[in-house]
Amino acid sequence: MDYMTLFIQQVINGLHIGSIYALIALGYTMVYGIVKLINFAHGDIMMVGAYTAFIFMTTYNQNIIVALIIAVLFCSILGFTIEKVAYKPLRKAPRMWALITAIGVSFFLESTVMVLFGANPKPFPAPQSSLIKIGNLQFSQLMIISLVLSVILMLSLERFIQTTRLGKAMRASSEDAEAAALMGISVNKTISTAFIIGSALAAIGGVLFAVAYPQIKPMMGVMPGLKAFIAAVLGGIGIIPGAVLGGFLLGLIESLTKGFLSAFWPDATLWADAILFSILILVLLIKPSGILGKNIREKV
């Protein structure tokens, strides 16, 4: 395989994994936009989504589409409940408290799944798919389906935010929650919506991730969750197109270091995460508010 083919192959892989990061990053960014909370349990919602799909595919013999829909419903309810039980009582408390609570919720979800299903990885029954070959390039149908699905979801979310009543209310609340409330917008409702949509996307991200790397374990949400968080920060936290951009960028960087750079430098795979995080630090040094972020001046 020549270098050009290898490069294009890795770009496709990067877009695929990047789209999953982007889906998860959207949840981080929407919640942060309105509540100013980094919901560290978000990666674990993704894990719960994968497990839910797994149970319905193995125990109840459902196909992956049914399992995906059930996972989405279950995670939406879970996200909604977590917000009401764990975060809402702390809404007026210092943000640090809510952050610590989020870490607590994260441990709670991981431990619960560990107790119920054990700590060992389980093989995820991803459907078989045929390979598509174009010249020397090859990719599976599932990859294409996953990428297309993610893009459709992101575009729908953008339409939702721009053109619906609830979407506009979310934009207003994320800019100035108090002013929005004084214009008749129920901030509670918009916060719940953000958690429901975020968790639904995380569930889809979880299932797509499990299809891409067909093995699930209770800690599987930690690394992708962290990377999605980085994606959100990289693009500019609180900004929805930023999360998408950050997700794709992260996926591309990761897969290019692992798959392309390693052709010249065998150790690159080991260094992949270090390279990723270095890029994050660099971007934030140059532009602390993220790529699409606006520099906010403090009011005097």
Binding site: F160, R165, A172, E178, A180, A181, L182, M183, G184, K299
Partner: protein, 250 residues
């Protein structure tokens, strides 16, 4: 129509508003004045549900609003503008107004996804209403500009237009003339007169600009240290010794 009786609020031993009474009659334009730190904005925050009073009741047309949340109070008919302009900066002029119509729209996500007649009808109605509101304030030519790109005076106007989009019975204006030069203030007075002509509305405003207050208010309420020290027509207030003492110090 609005009856506020003996509302107080306490913040850790301080009482910024203490047994405050207020009655607004339908269609009135009342000024709430007082020295800095007298508790004027706190009164607004109590009336709009940002703070919950520790004592007292707030009633609008006989309905109790005392413990309602801000967005519920808006539905009952009280909205406000802010001392420091708080427009939604990333939105255009018309979007700012449209957001405030939120409560008056009744379509579901289903209607949006399938682009139903209901959705299209309501969005059309919304656009028409928003545009005609902007037209009244002479903002229709800037409808698609970002709200931050408007000059200061127009931002003030837009904030008032946004508040009116909530279809309030009572409009609270928090220092609408703050930071304005005399010309802009004159224009603002015109705007306020215009609102009274075009809308069936009661206005309560906080203002430091005495020229504006004396020119347009029908009745004034003066507070100091959270308590009412005088009430009356602008002429009466301008001669009231207590008020003069409060403003100038004894």
């Amino acid at each position: 129509m609005l009856e506020v009786s003996k509302i107080s609020v306490t913040f850790g031993g301080i009482k910024p508003v203490d047994e405050f009474d207020l009655k607004l009659n339908k269609g009135e334009l009342v000024g709430l004045i007082g020295p800095n730190g007298a508790g004027k904005t706190t009164v607004f925050n109590l009336l709009t549900g940002v703070y919950t009073p520790s004592h007292g009741t707030i009633k609008l047309d006989g309905k109790n609003l005392t413990r309602l949340k801000p967005h519920q109070i808006v539905k009952k008919g009280i909205t406000r503008t802010f001392q420091n302009i708080r427009l939604f900066k990333s939105m255009t002029v018309i979007e700012n107004v449209k957001v405030a119509f939120n409560n008056q729209l009744h379509y579901s996500l289903y209607d949006r996804i399938f682009n139903t007649v209901k959705y299209n009808k309501q969005e059309k109605w919304l656009h028409k209403e928003a545009m005609s509101l902007l037209k009244i304030f002479d903002l229709d030519n800037e409808a698609n500009e970002l709200s931050t790109n408007l000059p200061y005076g127009k931002q003030r106007k837009l904030e008032i237009a946004r508040a009116l989009a909530c279809k309030p019975k009572i409009l609270l204006l928090d220092e609408p003339a703050a930071g304005m030069n005399p010309n802009e203030t004159n224009e603002l007075m015109e705007t306020i007169r215009l609102i009274r002509n075009k809308f069936d509305i009661t206005i309560l405003l906080i203002e430091h600009d005495m020229r504006l207050v004396m020119a347009i208010c029908e009745r004034l309420v003066v507070i100091e240290y959270g308590k009412i020290i005088a009430e009356g027509t602008p002429e009466e207030i301008s001669k009231n010794l207590k008020v003069i003492a409060a403003y100038l110090g004894e």
